[in-house]
Subunit: 661 residues, 2 copies
């Protein structure tokens, strides 16, 4: 154990184990999580080469092997609880992804959701036994978010009772679905349905794409991998070009709408059920943000405790880089963010389960709020985390750039969350739509409830600008509840400004749609402020439930830092709205420095509490024992470029070069 890091742990003011229980949701959960982790990490079947030492094809190969193993093990151990499966998988994956992901997360659930009983009876056993390996093929090369724009066609032929599927243009080639390139032998294909000369819009079809015995692509199918990406090297995101591919009528997924043998189209009863899956996945991504950020902070803070560099006082030994104020200012606000997002992730899960139950009992009233919340928080937390991971990486100096640090892997595997499951700007605008609608309802005197209830008061504020000045002395910058209030009022102001911008555009005789587009900057800003408010509020609410005094104290410091740092970073907003004064902004800057000093002795303990197993972290810089340098040397020597002392290029190019000069 590195002596620096041992000393750090001795200086902590709280019981790390107890904080881990809070983060896991109780000691029982911590215990079970560790049991599951031990199952994976003690299992020689999951031994592997560092993926960074392998070619793309070898990485894919290793990942398929591990995924196949995992399926067998989960059945062997009888692990069936979704949360436990999630932990098990997460340990198997490490910092990488798995090629079967969509079979389990999208293909099987879609079969359940969209098959009629007869279809379900046929397809589910095939999928559960991995005879059929499937994916969900929605996006096309030229079409993402906007479903109505998809171009793939499925035309019914009553003569043979078949659908004929086509990719009529290059831009209509299915593009991106995970596992489509090499792994799957079936795909649920979203296509525009044509029957008897009419287009009936988008429907889902089960399309066999590879022979179930030979795995060769079937006639009319052009399928393959879309090529190397920033990350996701383990996943064969694929393309699929359909050339007059015929499938039986029964392969249209017929739970809601049908095509009769004669080609008659039967409309679905109106349904909003797809809504639920999206909301669920986005809620999960909020938690993913917290985990990616926790990993990154663990690495950067442990390394900063071990690394010595330069000098603060001449003649003294080089200090730990964690003693530099600039290093603390880079990392501790991100640490506070990691805690904030962890609690917001828990909050999203709770609220999702609560509202899901309502929905199951036929009460859809909370769905719009849940939808707006999950969309906005997905965007807010992924954008913040995306930048934060890179700050963590760069705070490790050159070594952060080495793949041995794991930070490059964490970044490239995380950054797609800003785009998939709803592109972030689009998400922010969806949340804004809900906020502006709520604002207008309040304007009309309707009493809002739930998270947007703060918009009830906006109208009064607007007509009394002097009220702003009179509110000012009420803000106690050292009181977190007061800061929550301030964030709330900032959100209210920005929602109002966005709504007014639309109003002004309309008064200039712009159409509703152009008015919306011309106010989009303000709308995104309003959503951002709303989400920021929710995060600060959730952190504050969480504190109320923490009984342990020492833990309450350190979490309060983190929460204050999170809130204050957000104010300094956005001080223009707060000053403009008259929510804080110029002297208060200066006081906050001073207080932030004090909070950094207060957190310094607890920094390592606070990342230890995330309790991320060394094998999951897979980072030489972030090791629990702090023995960075020996292990970095050992890792480098295993690198494939060192397999031979002399690289072949010496004989091929370097030696001949001399003689030619």
């Amino acid at each position: 154990m590195n002596p620096d890091i041992t000393r750090e742990r001795q200086n902590a003011s709280f019981d790390v184990e107890k904080l881990t229980y809070i983060l896991d949701g109780g000691p029982e959960k911590t215990k079970r999580r560790r049991q599951i982790e031990a199952l994976v990490f003690s299992d020689p079947d999951f031994n592997e080469d560092d993926p960074n030492f392998l070619s793309r094809s070898e990485r894919y190969d290793q990942a398929v092997r591990k995924s196949a193993q995992m399926i067998l093990k989960l059945r062997e151990y009888g692990i069936a609880d979704p949360e436990e499966i999630y932990h098990y998988k997460s340990m198997v994956k490490g910092n990488q992804q798995e090629p079967f992901g969509l079979h389990v997360v999208m293909f099987i659930p879609s079969l359940r959701r969209l098959c009629d009983p007869q279809q379900a009876k046929k397809w589910l056993p095939l999928a559960d036994s991995f005879q059929v390996l499937g994916t969900y093929a929605q996006t096309e090369m030229g079409h993402g978010t906007h479903l109505r724009g998809l171009e793939t066609t499925a035309t019914y032929d009553p003569a043979t009772q078949e659908f004929v599927l086509n990719s009529p243009t290059v831009s209509s080639i299915k593009w991106w679905p995970g596992g489509l390139g090499k792994t799957s032998n079936h795909a649920i294909v979203l296509a525009q349905l044509y029957s008897l000369g009419n287009c009936h819009g988008l429907h889902a079809f089960i399309v066999p794409i590879r022979d179930m015995t030979t795995h060769q692509p079937l006639p009319g199918i052009v399928v393959g991998d879309i090529g190397p990406k920033f990350g996701f090297n383990e996943v064969d995101n694929g393309f699929l070009k359909l050339e007059n591919v015929r499938i039986p009528r029964e392969n249209m997924m017929m739970k809601y709408s049908k095509v009769e043998p004669d080609g008659t189209y039967v409309k679905p009863p109106s349904s909003k059920l797809t809504y639920g899956t999206m909301v669920f996945v986005r809620s999960m991504i909020v938690g993913e943000s917290a985990r990616a950020l926790s990993k990154s902070c663990t690495i950067a803070i442990r390394y900063s405790a071990v690394r010595h560099q330069s000098e603060i006082r001449p003649g003294e030994p080089e200090p730990q880089i964690l003693d530099y104020q600039t290093q603390q200012y880079k990392l501790f606000p991100l640490l506070s963010m990691a805690y904030a997002f962890t609690f917001v992730g828990q909050y999203m899960t709770e609220i999702y389960h609560r509202i899901s139950e309502d929905i199951n009992q036929g009460d859809f009233s909370q769905l719009p709020e849940l939808h707006a919340l999950s969309a906005g928080l997905k965007a807010f937390t992924t954008w913040e985390t995306n930048s934060a991971i890179e700050v963590c990486r760069m705070s490790c100096g050159g070594h952060g750039y080495s793949r041995s640090s794991a930070l490059p892997d964490i970044y490239v595997e995380f950054t797609p969350t800003c785009t998939y499951e709803g592109e972030n700007t689009v998400m922010m605008l969806q949340t804004a739509r809900y906020l502006v609608k709520s604002y207008r309802q309040a304007e009309k005197g309707q009493q809002l409830s739930g998270i947007v209830s703060y918009l009830n008061g906006s109208q009064n504020r607007r007509v009394q600008p002097q009220a702003v000045a009179s509110r000012r002395p009420l803000v106690d910058i050292n009181d977190l509840s007061s800061l929550v209030e301030v964030y709330q009022q900032r959100a209210a102001t920005l929602v109002e400004m966005a709504a007014k911008s639309i109003q002004q555009e309309l008064q200039r005789r712009k159409s509703q749609e152009d008015a919306w587009n011309n106010s989009a900057i303000d709308l995104v800003r309003a959503s951002d402020a709303h989400c920021h408010y929710v995060v600060v509020k959730v952190f504050n609410d969480k504190l109320k439930g923490v009984g342990d005094t020492a833990i309450h104290s350190v979490l309060s410091t983190l929460a204050l830092l999170y809130a204050m740092h957000g104010i300094t970073k956005n001080s223009g907003d707060f000053l403009q709205a008259g929510l804080v004064s110029v002297p208060q902004v200066l006081q906050i800057s001073v207080r932030i420095k004090e909070l950094l000093s207060q957190l310094r002795p607890n920094a390592v303990a606070l990342v230890d509490a995330f309790d991320i197993h060394d094998k999951k972290l897979n980072s030489v810089l972030g090791r629990y024992d702090g023995n960075v340098y020996e292990n970095m040397f050992e890792w480098a020597r295993r690198s494939p470029l060192n397999a031979a002392e002399v690289h072949e290029s010496f004989q091929k190019y370097l030696k001949p070069l001399r003689s030619k000069l």
Copy 2:
């Protein structure tokens, strides 16, 4: 040619070719640059596979081949002008790096700088003929910025007249030097010199590391590649462990200091000459920022003109995504930044050459200013560009994440500039040291000249806070010169605040060093504001020399956008200092929207003017002809994972899995 992009070009209000001349520094330079590019791109010897399709070892191999070719070609064509060599190299490299880089950029110049005449006579011909391939080994695993902390030792043995070199600890292993792992057979090693029992500090030694015939590592040398990184896959950044390695006394580089045969150490005459190289490299990096950002903007803006998505008005065709206000708000400020940084890069080059001439004539008076400027602007432009590349990538939706977009490559090759040649936070603090020193000089009544002359007035402002209020009406937010003034005053305010923070810490009886560290956040912020001011000022100055009315008009729009966007992003600073009023901040937000609309028709033409060859850009999304989708499909099909229709993992893991379930 894609019809959308053709239409965009028809709508431009200015002559693209003329703007290219301005960016290149004149039509002659443009012509010559294009000749050089044509030499590379028409040369079949530089044909290559997409590096993203190759393994690390294959990438290194291909890069060595290209570098060796390049050396022969440069001699063949007689290209010797440094700027022309730079262009030629830059085209050969594409978006990647080259393994010989340090031989030319560091090893040979160091030989020139540090060898005495006899040594130069021996080593330079060997290096010029690539018999000796060298690198510069300074950083160690545990030591970067802080040179005094380096641990490698060179102990003189008078008995044999040799130096004995050692890596006494794991952390002392040389780490990171480019070309050290596999390519070089010599290294200039920085080590603590010991002679006759005394340590004389850091000195440079020429150390043979591999046999010049067999290329095998020499006795006592443990050398290799440090393993995979985020980018720089073409470069064998290496490690070097020295175990009692003996080199002749003559291999100490003896231009300035010496060890006599009997071990007597001869001190160097005091010298600040190394200063110059660092300043030069940092100045160059400012230009690299501009180029990386120009490439990224070219890709994102062309793609945004070709990509259609969603709907603004229901029922109408999907609009180009460049018509969304949010997309314009993401990209156009970055486009304005690309222009700003291009002009700052030109400015740094000019100022470097001017001051270098002064230095050659013995006038060192401008060196501190140049040093502060190059350090700060290096940090400012690389940090801004680093984030900006990722914004460009994410603005391309999912396809930005594909390696075919080139944006992942541009990012991973660029991001090390934030760390190497002076870690950015350290750079900002060096600039701050100069600013605070200048501020104190002005405080004492000294009249400052040069770029910091604006600090002359600070003292008067400080004692007359009401002066702030009286200045306010002078700011005309639509006048760029007025905005330059506002940026200047913001910088002055923040330098003053940082200086005061140090003062307050000293009054609390902190030592100078602790006072500095406890004010580091404010110091970085002051440097940042100073650099931001310089950028806005340089952009404004550049406009004065632009004669063409149409170009002057569009560049003025860009400059205003750059300045205004910076104010909204940092509105807290400007409001706090009373430099703009709340209504003005709101006006600026409205004006920014107008500027985005004004720039919209010129956006594609403005990136065309960067004139980046398709083969240099190497981006499917950023192609000049806009034919994105066909080429993306073609690229994907060439991807190695598609070499076989059925991947071997099917037989190995997927088929067996079925039977086991």
